[in-house]
């Protein structure tokens, strides 16, 4: 039966994907855009597999197949790492000009703050001559592969909303994250692992919590799956004590048989899907441990990344990220929290804490890009590095603190991207002499999201999901692809 009142795509979907999970996902909620993506032939494969994560054809030829997003939660200081400001150094300790801060709201600064030049030296690296701070010696090695975006801006200046905004395009939790959108739109090449994997190191989980990798109103199959460095890498992936693998296989054989009999009786297509998902679960029981065994990598690789198997570290996670994209996982996101360098103590200032964070991450991030490149994976993998906002060119001096630190700053900050169709060896955009505002080439968060989707072969205005009465998309009603970043 076709209900004439129903919008067309869902009727079509219902006719075509009778045996897929979409029936339960309901219909009426969405799947509009997916049909569009499926329209060109990938559909047959989809129908056979009954699998929402089956690979789907992009809308147009993609530049990248996979994304690794190195999320520096807490917000790194752009003026101490990538955006040198000699003028700021010159006026170090002087009052911040009134015209910059008039009517401005800060998270913690009160009264009139003082300018603070970076205490760190900058020099040019590589043939491209990219400027980089002395805190990032390893970054110099990949400077020619990287596009540094100095002119990022955001609308949020508190951590949780800004992280949620960077991930979901909206500052209040509840919408799908970028990784969810991409696996929803493109599926995943790997049949034995989730399509969207999250790895965490640093002080804590990110401020935005699990909302940072939530599937929002998309089906939970598109939720980011956290691979943990403690206990089971994937929750519940290990058999309980006393259940050897062959016992599990035997019980599954019986279970699948019983379920097939139910399926034949009830004709409920969900049962077929469930049988397939139990098989995938069983395969994950070996594919996940296999993935996590980084100690099997040669010594040379451990030296390159600075990995120490068994530890919870950013370096280990970078190596895991490479192993994940090698296996065709679509979206890998690393979180390293701790960049919130306010300067209220030695534990969060830019003289002690910032160098430590750099030494925790610089080598491994550079190694990841270099390793992907030598394996020929950089062309098809987009690496993104950055936090949720930037830091003020002024010293925060909260309650008269004498430790150097910087407050939250949404008006300009630096991110970098490499591989996957990115123009290498460039610095994009111009900030003002003090590193306070963007002068030229602003890249808003929605622009960055549009660009990432574009590189993956998706028009950000056409990856949509119908929910609560309207079509939603990652970029809301904003976003422009930044052509200047494309190769």
């Amino acid at each position: 039966m076709r209900d004439k009142n129903r919008p067309w795509p869902e009727t079509t979907l219902q006719r075509l994907t009778r045996r897929t999970f979409f029936k339960e996902v309901g219909y009426g909620i969405g799947s509009v855009a997916l049909m569009n993506l499926l329209a060109e032939g990938a559909f047959a494969a989809q129908q056979e597999r009954h699998d929402p994560l089956a690979p789907k054809k992009p809308q147009f030829a993609p530049r990248a197949k996979n994304v690794i997003f190195l999320f520096m939660a807490g917000a790194p200081s752009q003026v101490d790492l990538f955006d040198p400001k000699p003028t700021l150094v010159k006026y170090n300790g002087q009052d911040c000009p009134d015209e910059l801060i008039k009517g401005e709201r800060f998270a913690f600064i009160r009264g009139k703050p003082k300018l603070m030049g970076s205490p760190y030296a900058f020099s040019q690296a590589g043939q491209s001559g990219q400027w980089v701070s002395e805190l990032l010696p390893h970054f110099r090695d990949i400077a020619d592969d990287v596009a540094v975006i100095r002119t990022m801006t955001t609308t949020q200046f508190n951590h949780a909303p800004a992280q949620i905004f960077m991930n979901t395009g909206f500052q209040i939790p509840g919408r799908p994250s970028m990784g969810s959108w991409l696996t929803y739109g493109l599926g995943s090449e790997n049949r034995d692992l989730p399509g969207f994997v999250v790895l965490i190191s640093g002080e804590n989980n990110p401020d935005g919590g699990k909302g940072c990798w939530s599937s929002g109103f998309l089906p939970s199959v598109y939720q980011g799956v956290e691979f943990r460095s403690q206990g089971d890498a994937v929750l519940f992936v290990s058999n309980p004590d006393g259940v050897p693998s062959d016992v599990r296989r035997d019980t599954l054989d019986t279970l699948q048989h019983l379920n097939s009999m139910q399926s034949a009786k009830t004709l409920d297509p969900e049962i077929e899907t469930r049988i397939a998902q139990y098989e995938l679960a069983y395969r994950m029981q070996s594919s996940v441990p296999d993935l996590m065994e980084i100690d099997k990598e040669p010594a040379e690789v451990h030296e390159l990344y600075g990995t120490e198997p068994g530890k919870k570290s950013f370096a280990n996670n970078c190596l895991l990220a490479r192993r994940l994209v090698e296996r065709g996982v679509r979206f890998v996101q690393l979180y390293h929290r701790g960049w919130d360098n306010h300067g209220t103590s030695e534990g969060d200032d830019i003289m002690h804490r910032l160098p430590k964070l750099c030494s925790e991450t610089d080598k491994a991030a550079a190694a990841l890009v270099a390793d992907l490149k030598r394996r020929g994976l950089l062309d098809e993998t987009l690496v993104v590095w950055g936090g949720e906002f930037g830091r003020t060119p002024m010293n925060e001096a909260r309650d008269g603190s004498t430790y150097k630190g910087r407050d939250h700053h949404p008006h300009c900050f630096t991110m970098w991207m490499a591989g996957g169709g990115i123009k290498p060896g460039i610095s994009y955009g111009k900030t003002d002499e003090l590193g306070y505002n963007v002068e030229d080439g602003e890249v808003q968060v929605h622009d960055l999201q549009a660009t990432i989707l574009h590189l993956m072969g998706i028009d950000h205005t056409r990856l949509t999901f119908h929910y609560q009465g309207r079509d939603f998309r990652l970029t809301d009603v904003f976003g422009n692809v930044v052509d200047g970043l494309l190769k």
Partner: protein, 1009 residues
């Protein structure tokens, strides 16, 4: 709380009486309507073209979302020719004619009927009705006549007539009634969320009376677990959680609201009251505590207390959330779209949104902390919700305390006599002789310089901590006390006598020695001690306490150190006094100037500063009598005793208070009028025109007024001419028992939602619901006693072909249970589920390291005993890190209101059901039951386990498969005792556990069918 309502009484015994209502004459049929832009064309153009062709950045300069825009055309000129659709550019492009790409670009073409509607509108001359939007959901429902059906004898109540009529119109027949086992299990799961035990099932199967089914329904509706089951989806609507959300995600005490919801369902509170109390219970006359607790519904909004957040903005987001949630839950409307601009599809304006914003922006909160220091926080009200026993004890204590306080307020005659004696006695004060030290040292190296009055003055850098040692030779025979005077000096901040930047000091320890031997100190007395400090702590020594003098700056104070026993001194005794300043919290709190004296008089004492300063000046003493009385009573035994009794009562009250649960509630700001600003583009700082409170204009002709508060809003929502409230709720109740609403998009009754599959049935139910006095149990009862509900759920190839989504209800729905129900079902089958109702949220086992929130040290402490096995709805709900097994099964983070959970089917669910500790606990429990209750043979035990899981006995093929599995596992575990030992005491036990694990994972076990 419960009102007895007409309908439930009617339906309790027989299903037919109310049908008379339904036979009222039907409304005359609608005349064929003229097609206006505001009907189908506007909706189609908005939905399919608006993404590109709208607003100021419209592609090709063409705005297709407004009548004016469509008529004006774009850069290519006019797009419609009134009366000539065929040649209108809009139609040409939508149909893909004229050699250009078909619109909308990149999307599938519009459905032919939609293009036809636009064509008809153009051919009809592009008529407009002046902007009036007609949409079924905004027209109040009327009771329709029951349709006439061909098939006789199937219908059990009016629901069936509507369903059958639609089936017949589509050439379908209803399915056979499900088996008794299936029906019983379905009822148990739908009405209580718990499976029937084999014995409950047997009892039902034995009952051969014609009303056995209805009797079971009534029994289950009366079960306290009915309230738990109905609360489950409501808690998603109410975004109920036990933490604030956002970065810190601090824990909050919210569970009293959860228990209120359970209780309201169990008491069958009518839906109009249920609505009113949750929205405005605090504003009802003489609101009870329970009615205030109900307002937790909107207090459940997230709140961001991240450092650096502007609390005003955080509160703005809270109010926005309340508008969004209230509109979604009670109106089924996506009003949130109108936060930033007029709604694109539905007839809600941005002003409508802020009329409701004004209603919710009038609630009270407290501001604490300094905004200028970035420390300001806003708190909304919290109330205590004591048990009757706690309430009784609380008022007893409060009375005791009040009595004691008033007794202490006015001194009695005896006290006054003692006071006068004390004043008189002051004249004969103790004689203290200033000593002449042989040595005075500062361990931290301050210079201590002797002054002409015999005191010592500290100078040099004030150290963080210090130890002063004073030694002198005494020529007295007895020593009864040593006095330390601390003296002001212009060289100190605030003139001292301390060296801290305030002028304060903290003496943390005093020691006395005679000829090198320690002299135990019995007591100390001071002329003044800072409130909150206990000078007596200098005797044992306490780095966090001691003698401090905040506020007595620039004046002298004294402390007498009294030995435990009066000391007989040998001639020329060498005495040593050691003063320590060890405070870690307060550095530099050292005494700046002091003088030491000794006495040999009995009971030496020091006078309060005030008395000492007034000594010899009767006028001054008279003027300071009240203050002196206070000083006197500090050492007056009867008063001290009364004080300590008061302190004990206060302490008990404080402890009791800490044990009394609290609830988060709304309070109205008194006196204020209901008005707020439109916020341009929905932004906090961009304020537009002021609007008063009021319902959306399209739903009510009432103009906004400054008296339209939350209570008025609630009254309007539950008034009978509101077209949405009843429809939205009966649709949700339908969804609860049929898995899917008649309006599938239960969150959106607007033009972008799905239209009802059975519009007349929806209206019939809505009107019946209102006429019954909003009786929820009666409505649920009506639904589950229908023949429609009682059908079997097996599909046939023909049915799948004709109605794959089962919209016509030719069979009962079959679907996987919700996250919490999967857990409850599993634990109940395993015989380990706790059936305890209500109470604080619990912490069942979950894998380690799930909680790790910045700036929040709160940890998951796994509950003990039965709290590990409570029903899922009692699990602590932390928004930034929800319970993982629930998250895997489509539970949400409860950050915002969720009307419908998406039902997905993933490998992570399989892993959780196979391997989670909870799943294994259930399997072990079921294995035990199979062994103890299942009978002697393996086959019987397997059959018993199967029945626990599915409600039915296994067929022979199923039984054979499971027996074979058992045999294989048994052999395996006999050969591997170590593995077996990890699951059970014997190999048989281990094999049974794994068979139970298999049974619990069957699709049938986790599905409601």
């Amino acid at each position: 709380m419960a009102r007895h309502r007409l309908l439930s009484a009617f339906f309790a015994g027989c299903g037919l009486l109310p049908f008379a209502l339904a036979l009222a004459p039907q409304e005359p049929g609608h005349a064929k309507q003229q097609l206006f832009f505001e009907d189908a064309p506007r909706i189609a153009l908005n939905a399919h073209c608006g993404v590109c062709h709208s607003g100021s950045t419209a592609k090709a300069g063409l705005d297709l979302t407004t009548l004016a825009g469509v008529m004006k055309g774009g850069r290519s000129g006019k797009v419609v020719v009134p009366g000539n659709a065929q040649d209108s550019l809009l139609i040409v492009r939508l149909e893909g004619r004229g050699g250009k790409e078909q619109m909308p670009l990149g999307f599938r073409p519009l459905a032919p009927e939609k293009i036809k509607a636009i064509r008809d509108w153009i051919d009809g001359g592009c008529k407009s009705n002046g902007g009036v939007v007609s949409h079924w959901a905004y027209v109040p429902p009327k009771l329709p006549a029951l349709p006439v059906t061909k098939q006789k004898g199937w219908t059990r109540n009016p629901i069936d007539a509507f369903v059958l009529a639609k089936l017949e119109a589509n050439g379908l027949k209803p399915s056979h009634e499900a088996t008794k086992e299936t029906l019983a299990r379905r009822l148990y799961l739908d009405l209580t969320g718990l499976p029937p035990s084999p014995s409950e099932m047997d009892a039902y199967l034995r009952d051969k009376s014609p009303k056995a089914y209805e009797a079971l329904v009534d029994r289950l509706l009366a079960s306290p677990h009915y309230g738990e089951r109905m609360a489950r989806p409501w808690l998603d609507l109410a975004r109920y959680a036990d933490s604030d959300g956002y970065e810190k995600d601090l824990n909050r005490t919210a569970w009293k609201y959860r228990d209120w919801v359970i209780d309201a369902f169990n008491q069958n509170m009518p839906y109009d009251e249920f609505t009113t109390e949750q929205l405005a219970g605090d504003m009802l006359p003489n609101a009870t505590i329970e009615q205030q607790v109900a307002t937790g519904f909107n207090r459940n909004a997230m709140f961001n207390s991240e450092g650096g957040v502007d609390p005003g903005e955080a509160q703005f987001n809270v109010v926005i959330d309340r508008v969004n949630t209230t509109s979604t839950v009670f109106m089924g409307s996506t009003l949130q779209c109108a936060r930033c601009h007029d709604h694109k599809y539905d007839p809600f304006t941005q002003k409508d949104f802020y009329k409701l914003y004004a209603v919710f922006d009038n609630t009270a909160f407290d501001k604490v902390g300094d905004y200028k220091k970035g420390q300001e926080q806003w708190y909304e009200p919290v109330i205590e919700v004591p048990t009757p026993e706690q309430a009784r004890r609380r008022s007893q204590l409060e009375a005791q305390i009040a009595k004691a306080e008033s007794a202490l307020k006015e001194p009695d005659a005896e006290t006054l006599r003692a006071f006068d004696a004390w004043l008189k006695d002051a004249g004969q004060a103790t004689v203290w002789s200033v000593v002449k030290p042989s040595q005075v040292t500062s361990a931290a190296g301050q210079a201590l310089t002797e002054q002409s009055d015999g005191s010592y003055l500290a100078s040099g850098k004030a150290p963080a901590n210090d130890v002063y040692t004073i030694e002198w030779t005494s020529n007295r025979a007895n020593l009864t006390g040593v006095r330390i005077e601390v003296l002001p000096d212009p060289s100190f901040p605030n003139r001292g006598p301390g060296r801290a930047s305030s002028g304060n000091f903290i003496l943390t320890k005093a020691e006395l020695a005679s000829n090198g031997a320690d002299v135990p100190i019995g007591s100390v007395a001071t002329s003044f001690t800072q409130q909150g400090y206990d000078a007596g702590r200098v005797i044992p020594g306490d780095a966090a306490n001691g003698w401090a003098i905040f506020n007595a700056y620039g004046q002298a104070s004294e402390m007498a150190v009294i030995p435990a026993k009066a000391l007989s001194l040998p001639p020329m005794a060498r005495l040593r006094l050691v003063l320590r300043f060890d405070s870690q919290q307060w550095p530099e709190h050292v005494i700046g100037r002091f003088r030491v004296s000794e006495s040999d008089q009995a009971e030496p004492r020091v006078l309060p500063n005030m008395l000492r300063q007034a000594l010899g000046d009767p006028a001054k003493i008279e003027a300071n009598r009240p203050a002196l009385l206070v000083e006197f009573e500090k050492s007056y035994a009867p008063t001290k005793e009364a004080m300590s009794k008061l302190a004990a009562a206060s302490q008990e009250l404080a402890a009791l208070r800490a044990a009394i649960p609290t609830a988060m509630v709304l309070k109205e700001r008194p006196g204020d009028t209901i008005a707020g600003n439109v916020h341009i583009r929905g932004e906090w700082l961009q304020k537009g025109e002021t609007v008063a409170g009021g319902p959306p204009a399209v739903l009510s002709p009432k103009p906004p007024t400054s008296s339209f508060n939350r209570l008025e809003l609630a009254k309007w929502l539950v008034s009978k001419d509101n077209p949405l409230t009843a429809r939205v709720e009966v649709n949700r109740l339908w969804e609860t028992v049929f898995g899917k609403g008649l309006v599938e998009t239960s969150e959106d009754f607007g033009s972008q939602g799905s239209p009802p599959t059975h519009p007349e049935l929806l209206d019939w139910l809505s009107v019946t619901f209102m006429n019954s006095g909003w009786d929820m149990k009666a409505m649920v009862r009506l639904m589950v006693t229908s023949a429609t509900y009682r059908q079997g759920s097996d599909a046939t190839p023909a049915l799948l072909e004709k109605d794959p989504q089962n919209q016509l209800l030719a069979r009962a729905p079959r679907y996987r249970m919700e996250a919490e129900a999967v857990r409850d079902n599993m634990l109940a089958i395993g015989g380990v589920l706790s059936l305890k109702l209500g109470g604080p949220s619990v912490y069942p086992s979950q894998p380690p390291a799930i909680w790790d929130t910045p700036y929040n040290g709160q940890r998951w402490m796994t509950s003990d005993g039965q709290d590990r096995y409570r029903r899922g709805l009692y699990t602590f709900w932390k928004r930034s890190a929800p319970y993982p097994a629930f998250l895997a099964m489509d539970a949400t983070s409860r950050e915002t209101c969720t009307v419908r959970r998406i039902r997905s089917n993933t490998p992570l669910q399989a892993l959780a059901l196979l391997n989670d500790e909870v799943a294994m606990d259930a399997a072990k429990g079921l294995a035990k039951r199979m062994a103890s209750e299942g009978g002697k043979t393996t086959a019987a035990r397997i059959a018993f386990g199967f029945r626990c899981c599915t409600g039915r006995r296994p067929n022979s093929a199923e039984a054979k498969l499971l027996s074979a599995l058992y045999d294989k596992l048994l052999a395996r575990y006999v050969a591997d005792k170590t593995a077996a030992g990890k699951l059970a005491e014997t190999a048989e036990g281990a094999a049974t556990v794994m068979v139970a694990n298999t049974l619990l994972n069957m699709d049938e076990t986790i599905s409601r069918s």
